[in-house]
């Protein structure tokens, strides 16, 4: 080693130390435990009281714990709009987060604040729904395909003819827009299928129940119902109103899966399109890998949804085996997203982050 090289090596060491010291100062509250770097994870969610989102948050906590490199999970979770979510993300930046996992309330409104975060070296992962900011990572179900696959199944069930009700999510949020686009694309191939009514459930149980009551009393002629995931509520409304079932498309929610598996002889025909909430944990796993440079990923990672229907014996047995009585009825039956998540089902149910 020449003296010049030695000099350079020393300089590199000094630089590394300075960067390290700066990072510790900048991130303040990061105890480094057992030699491994401990990261702070921020989570931003803007829909409370929704089983799917609760499971998503639990999966992030579980993955944070399982990863062993996270010291703290800071959660900003309240019912708010894009302006509120911008403030929440800024507060997470201030909290010293190294990875921020967001379920975005708008595709474009968060771009400026995401850019601010990524400029500071924070890895931002949008899960479940997409954002248009290119420096962010997007880990989500292919929501266009979600809409398309379910609508296509429903149209085929109806023999390409009839009226369907489209029970959407929250108007204007990216996943709702994408699913609607998928549904519209699928139905373009079936000119005799008509969307007779469109509702926004806001992905909440009560509005969906009320909308079904309104539909029953309005006398609208319908032949099938497509839901954006508030599904078992719709089935329950058919049961309590004593109305004959029509084919219903929902998601892989635990209670809906159970209903598809058990109510077939009562006349319920339906399909569950997968949309796993542990996408939150998967997003964190991707974010941590990017941060630790252990793996590189594309900026957009899409899961392709599957359709589980109860029209065949094989489908029914699949639904029966997938139903999981140990999980909350409004959780999804999916407790992990392989190969990304590494926690166990017990971790998810415990819903505990690193202590």
């Amino acid at each position: 080693m020449t003296s010049r090289e030695r000099h350079l090596t020393t300089a590199r060491w000094v630089a590394a130390l300075m960067v390290g010291a700066f990072a510790m100062v900048a991130c303040g509250n990061q105890p480094s435990g057992g030699g491994t770097t401990k990261y702070v994870v921020g989570v931003s969610n803007t829909l409370q009281g929704n089983g799917w989102r609760e499971e998503m948050i639990c999966s992030i906590k579980a993955q944070a714990k399982a990863s062993g490199v996270v010291s703290k999970v800071v959660i900003a979770n309240r019912n708010t709009d894009a302006a509120g979510q911008i403030a929440d993300i800024r507060n997470l930046i201030s909290s010293g987060a190294n990875v921020i996992v967001i379920n975005p309330s708008d595709r474009d409104a968060l771009n400026a604040v995401i850019k601010q975060a990524t400029d500071k070296g924070i890895v931002v992962v949008a899960v479940d729904q997409a954002v248009s900011e290119p420096t962010a990572y997007v880990v989500s179900n292919d929501q266009v395909a979600y809409g398309q696959l379910g609508a296509d199944w429903l149209a085929k069930q109806l023999g390409g003819k009839g009226n369907i009700i489209e029970m959407r999510g929250i108007n204007g949020v990216p996943a709702d827009t994408d699913r609607h686009q998928g549904l519209t694309t699928a139905l373009a191939a079936y000119p005799n299928i008509k969307v007779i009514k469109q509702t926004f459930t806001n992905w909440s149980l009560d509005p969906a129940a009320q909308q079904m009551k309104d539909i029953f009393s309005s006398g609208i002629q319908y032949n099938g119902i497509w839901t954006s995931g508030i599904d078992s509520t719709v089935v329950d409304q058919f049961q309590s109103a004593g109305k004959p079932y029509v084919p219903i498309v929902g998601a892989d929610n635990n209670k809906f899966v159970q209903e598809l598996a058990t109510l077939k002889d009562k006349g319920l025909i339906g399909a569950a399109v997968t949309n796993p909430p542990p996408i939150g944990g998967a997003g964190l796993a991707v974010g941590l890998a990017i941060l630790q440079k252990t793996h590189s990923y594309d900026h957009v990672i899409h899961l392709t949804p599957q359709v589980w229907d109860n029209t065949t014996a094989a489908g029914v047995s699949k639904l029966q085996t997938t139903y999981d009585s140990s999980l909350d009825p409004y959780y999804s039956v999916a407790f992990d997203v392989k190969p990304y998540t590494t926690y166990t089902k017990q971790d998810l149910i415990a819903c505990a982050g690193p202590s």
Binding site: A83, S94, D106, D108, A109
Partner: protein
């Protein structure tokens, strides 16, 4: 005021009492804000310009929503359509600004302010003409404005010109004086001249005792329409603030601001019975209500407690305020 000044030595106690009555709540709200800021600084010693800017950005639309509600409540009314009026301003602005420069956007902003002021005036005019209670009419018009906003723009759309966004997001003067703080100057610019004018006095008079105001020769209808019109103006400011802070137009933008605006004015010492209160309190309350979620995030407290803490705080402040009123009467 002149006579009071001349007789100052004898009546200073009375004047102090009057000042305390008039500004007591406002002082209390600002003290609460100061205490919260100190707590925040203790929790987060590295609180800096970035965090301060976060607060000013979060509070900006809420402050305008609160201001819009304040003027209406002062006149003895209530406006449940503040949120939808904000959404309407927000989508009208986006539609017209899309793809234009700052100068054009500013002209659009002025036109939107005018349009939504007229919408507010229409709220007031319908109430005065039909004599149906304010809460019923504004509940009905809230659906009308919300529907109109959806007709203008069916779904959230980006495209607010970058320079226009920077009017709120930037920090032109200094990092500690963000533009989002300076934009609040619109409130005193409109409010102080109005309050000092005959029309402003009439709004207070109508709000505190409609009969007495009528017998004193105040034009009740005109005063109430004016209050709703100014409310519409501030709601439009709130909608434009959302355009600036988010960069998108969204027909559902105002959803959260009707009720949180009412929270802010209650916390800010505006009597929901009308005639009492000012603008300083609600603006500080908007800052307090925006600071609480930030503090919870800094502390890492379960976010589900956030709304509860907010509610408890309002109850405590209102109880203390009510106690003050009772003690004064005793």
């Amino acid at each position: 005021m002149a006579t009071a000044a001349a007789a100052a030595p004898r009546t200073s106690g009375i004047r102090f009492g009057r000042a305390a009555r008039r500004y007591g709540w406002t002082i209390a709200v600002y003290s609460l804000f100061a205490v919260l800021m100190v707590v925040t600084l203790i929790i987060k010693p590295d609180y800096g310009a970035f965090e301060w800017n976060t607060l000013t950005l979060a509070a900006l639309p809420l402050a305008f929503a609160a201001t819009a509600q304040t003027i209406v409540v002062l006149s003895g009314g209530i406006d449940l359509s503040v949120g939808p009026l904000m959404a309407l301003a927000n989508v009208l602005a986006l539609r017209a600004m899309l793809g234009h420069d700052l100068g054009y956007s500013l002209i659009v902003a002025l036109i939107v302010l005018l349009e939504v002021t007229l919408a507010g005036a229409l709220n007031g005019a319908i109430i005065v003409l039909t004599r149906v209670p304010d809460i019923v009419i504004t509940l009905a018009t809230s659906f009308i404005w919300a529907g109109l906003a959806l007709l203008v723009l069916a779904k959230p759309t980006p495209g607010v010109p970058f320079d226009f966004q920077n009017l709120a997001q930037g920090s032109t003067l200094s990092a500690w004086i963000p533009n989002a703080l300076l934009l609040l100057l619109v409130i005193p610019l409109v409010w102080i001249p109005l309050r000092r004018s005959r029309a402003g006095l009439a709004i207070y008079a109508v709000g505190s005792d409609r009969n007495a105001a009528f017998r004193s020769g105040v034009n009740l209808g005109l005063s109430r329409v004016l209050a709703y019109a100014v409310g519409g103006f501030f709601a439009a400011c709130g909608g434009l603030a959302l355009s600036m802070t988010t960069g998108v137009g969204s027909p559902l933008a105002g959803t959260y601001y009707t009720l949180s605006g009412v929270s802010a004015i209650v916390l800010g010492g505006v009597s929901l019975a009308g005639g009492r209160g000012g603008m300083l309190g609600p603006v500080a309350a908007a800052y307090i209500l925006s600071l609480i979620p930030a503090v919870l995030i800094y502390l890492g407290i379960d976010p589900n407690y956030g709304q509860m803490i907010q509610g408890v705080l309002i109850v405590i402040v209102v109880m203390i305020g009510g106690l003050g009123v009772v003690l004064r009467r005793a």
